[in-house]
Symmetry: D2
Subunit: 342 residues, 4 copies
Amino acid sequence: MTHSIAIIGASGYTGAELVRIIATHPSFEIKALAANSKAGQPMASVFPHLRHLDLPDLVTWEEIDFDQIDLCFCALPHKTSQEVISKLPKSIKIVDLSADFRLRDPAEYEKWYGNPHAAPEIQKEAVYGLTEFYREEIAGARLVAGTGCNAATGQFILRPLISAGVIDLDDIILDLQCGVSGAGRSLKENLLHAELSEGTNAYAVGGTHRHQGEFDQEFSKLAGRAVKVQFTPHLGPFNRGILATCYVKGEADAVLASLQAAYADEPFISVLPKGETPSTHHVRGSNFCHIGVSGDRIPGRAIIVAALDNLCKGSSGQAVQNANLMLGEDERAGLMLAPCFP
Amino acid sequence: MTHSIAIIGASGYTGAELVRIIATHPSFEIKALAANSKAGQPMASVFPHLRHLDLPDLVTWEEIDFDQIDLCFCALPHKTSQEVISKLPKSIKIVDLSADFRLRDPAEYEKWYGNPHAAPEIQKEAVYGLTEFYREEIAGARLVAGTGCNAATGQFILRPLISAGVIDLDDIILDLQCGVSGAGRSLKENLLHAELSEGTNAYAVGGTHRHQGEFDQEFSKLAGRAVKVQFTPHLGPFNRGILATCYVKGEADAVLASLQAAYADEPFISVLPKGETPSTHHVRGSNFCHIGVSGDRIPGRAIIVAALDNLCKGSSGQAVQNANLMLGEDERAGLMLAPCFP
Amino acid sequence: MTHSIAIIGASGYTGAELVRIIATHPSFEIKALAANSKAGQPMASVFPHLRHLDLPDLVTWEEIDFDQIDLCFCALPHKTSQEVISKLPKSIKIVDLSADFRLRDPAEYEKWYGNPHAAPEIQKEAVYGLTEFYREEIAGARLVAGTGCNAATGQFILRPLISAGVIDLDDIILDLQCGVSGAGRSLKENLLHAELSEGTNAYAVGGTHRHQGEFDQEFSKLAGRAVKVQFTPHLGPFNRGILATCYVKGEADAVLASLQAAYADEPFISVLPKGETPSTHHVRGSNFCHIGVSGDRIPGRAIIVAALDNLCKGSSGQAVQNANLMLGEDERAGLMLAPCFP
Amino acid sequence: MTHSIAIIGASGYTGAELVRIIATHPSFEIKALAANSKAGQPMASVFPHLRHLDLPDLVTWEEIDFDQIDLCFCALPHKTSQEVISKLPKSIKIVDLSADFRLRDPAEYEKWYGNPHAAPEIQKEAVYGLTEFYREEIAGARLVAGTGCNAATGQFILRPLISAGVIDLDDIILDLQCGVSGAGRSLKENLLHAELSEGTNAYAVGGTHRHQGEFDQEFSKLAGRAVKVQFTPHLGPFNRGILATCYVKGEADAVLASLQAAYADEPFISVLPKGETPSTHHVRGSNFCHIGVSGDRIPGRAIIVAALDNLCKGSSGQAVQNANLMLGEDERAGLMLAPCFP
């Protein structure tokens, strides 16, 4: 059975990545592509790498005939997303890739994003889209909120450890490098090749990155008490990829066992043999996540490193994985593309 | 119908690219992976990005049970390839990715590669594997010789122009940039990140690159007279991609018309609207080739620019395309992966 | 003797490069830095890599007290530059890095830049700033117009060949790759890391790049007849560097001899032994230019490759070289910084 | 007064960086360059970026006439270095850039490097070359052992904090990214452009990196008790630069004050205003180190980020700084080169 798909916000990188994935998806068909600022243009003029596909031209989202759409991916910036989604027909299934429906508490949303939530009633029905941990809710949901890419990576490391009670909850450090596509196709000086290539820097140091809100919400819910991690992102001179290095107090063997147990049957998450470390090179362009565990020479401390592709497993791949569940398809459909190396 | 596939030379980049493509091919199944220097190792320890696949461990090629193999890709270095292929059972279909069977004249082979050909009798049955121009012969061949990646790019530009008689055959300049994966996974100082990133240089200047032998053979055959192009490759600080900029004497409109006519029905080659120029960014990781034509301000001169991925369309993708033909499958099977951008 | 220097347009890359060079110049002292859009800010907040220097804060150019300035570098965008320079005191020596005073004929300026020249009377006194070929005029000039970075590279290759009469003037192809800093610190989509890294493309194909105006002017003057080269620039995924590959009809030995003769005593231009090719890696961050000559296998054809750093020898280094001459200093002062490799 | 300099191990990156720095040093003159595997070659054939310099050809170190040498830089691999240095005349001042004389305790050396120390008697006179903290001893030393590049970076962050007693000594995490030149000009698969560009990975996870030996030695000596930090290096896709992100338990204001006090008069180390974070982009090619301090949202925790160039301040620049002291020159001589950005 073929499902009719619309993508709103098709002129950004996550929009393009959705199209790239759906291009070889066995049962999704793209019926509408919306990007209000580029309406009227062919998709190939905005993203020439999609030239070979027979795609509808870009339209405004208001022009989409939603009667013929089964599921809509919304890849708009936060704030815009909630405004648009609140106007979409209630009969449409939606996977939102923005930050707008990730935080259940509207006050938390306002704290991290600076504006009051404009659609708090819709927020109530949103399911948090971390597939591996909300599978059942996602399958029955109308609106799924895709997670932050950094937030997904950190949770793949830490959720099993918190659930298993094998680490000290008050001493968790999550040091992370993210590729530049995580910042989107936005014209900012620090995203220019001349500024960003050939070096690296930290940003949002000290707990100010917005994905902290997701960590707080999810980890505290899981632990039944407040959990605050220390999270420092770095901007690396590469396009795709997140590498998270997590420092915990706990036994490496117990940490490893918890991760192995949690992901034994997961098609997209691999736990490496003890002492091996993953690399973003080996997941680039794919929906896979690799996790490695090492003990430190200081007893009782463990280091966990995770690698995924921020645009794919961290965003658009996750979105398709969720859409597969919502539409009753095999969760893996369209997502078994091998990483592109070198 | 599923075809059983072996890959000899699986520890190099073209070997890994074959596996990446076949991973989502609907009717190819990898039954054996050989790499004599790494025999005994799991493929995932040599190429961790293929960890998610259920692949056979690496063996020596002598260990392969060829009775169960329908087609064998041979991704060995030249010289080694002819030695191995001469020992394979004659019943096996073979796609060779090396330079060993590209040149029909053994004297030309020796001139360009420095050693006498060790299997001239097999050379006779080899078909030159430029799919778009040798489709019928390839479909009926037992042994297909994959083209050089630069040689493919130059021919996609020039064959239709030579055939149509729209350019001066004595004044053709082919200036080309190639990504570093074209040099393979070899430990050479100039391929180190510290040496190669952040700059560029020409090499094999003055007509000494080995792919000239293919240009000479193919263009002269096509023109019915000797044709010598001037060909200068450059090594660019990127992993995948060839961009060829070709300067010819001829009318841009006639050039464009010849290319449009030649590629009107080709699934993998797109001729862009006049004046547009392609980019390697937009074909990376895919089997597509984009070609653009511009006139110069000097009347009677045209510039043609072509972009493809050297590892895919220039090598392993072409090899799968040929294998599809040899095995009676849809030529496009497994090859419609969209480019990975950004 | 110390010379007091002002830099107008200090918030762009050529402005920052001027400061970098002058930082270790023995007799230049920066007295004023102007950038109207960033006036009031310390230079270190605009360019943190200059934090260690004791620099004046940014001001508007109108705020500069020109009575205390000996020489002013003007690193503004074209069009703005002519407007500002026409208002500067006539007593000030000026090195302009923009395109505004490069073309002697105002009609040519308008043809290539699209706007009528606003200061044609000042244009008359401007000297074309290609130091090695206009040394005497530059030493006596009040206003020197820095060349285009691509234009400088092409002229370093071609001027000696045209002067010596060793090449066919009607068949010159200049294929060139330029690093991204050549486009300045401007917020354009194609200059983003995610768009530009890991690939390459041609642009301004067919003779439409503005630096063609300089080639036309200079080569035609030199030859005493109209000379039109075919010039195709490419944008490469590196920050600094121009590599020009030039195809000419002429004997390689004569070409080499002409270049050797022209540059025998030049401190910044090295002609490599025959058959060696330069690399941008080996001139990065320096004022040096390396040139190599090879013959082609087709008799009577030669290929010349030149490498320089577009920001330094192609722009700000050239500007300091000219300023040294204008102020009676050793031409090499401040410019003997070794390239930064790797 | 001019000092005569020899460099042994001139064919590696730190050797080339020494030459780059000395090229504009006011009182150092290179009299001999040794590289046994490349003896007989001109330096320009090994490092073409140094072509403009009038350098002696490479010789074996045994060929150097040490009577005419004031100071010798030894840039050999560890183990080789101790063997060579033990045979050099005792009258010669030496700055060693290898790991061979960093660890005072030969047992510690053997533990971290795997071989017994071959010159323990010379080890006794070696001074640890972290200039800012061993200035007086270095000025009087005959043999100075340059520090590890990572070890220098970590110590610039932590020494003032340990001395001031403002952090918990049992809970220090040092997460670090290093550019690829830190691994030298060695032919290893993971250093190839195709393997390393466009991604990142951790290595030596869990306290196994050899620079831990330096941290243990120095921090324990400083604290008067055993101090073990958790140190995880990552390999980043850039050539030059170390970015260290350090997580401590302590008040950010006290941390900042300690750093400001320690470095108030240091010419090469800048402490940024609170909350600002450094970038390796802004120190590339220079001897400067930038350090920034931020508080975390969790009270009582601070994050310190430091950036320097591993080849310069982390190795060859530090070596020249030490040589300046040993030869009675201004410590800054030759080292005020501004960073090369972009």
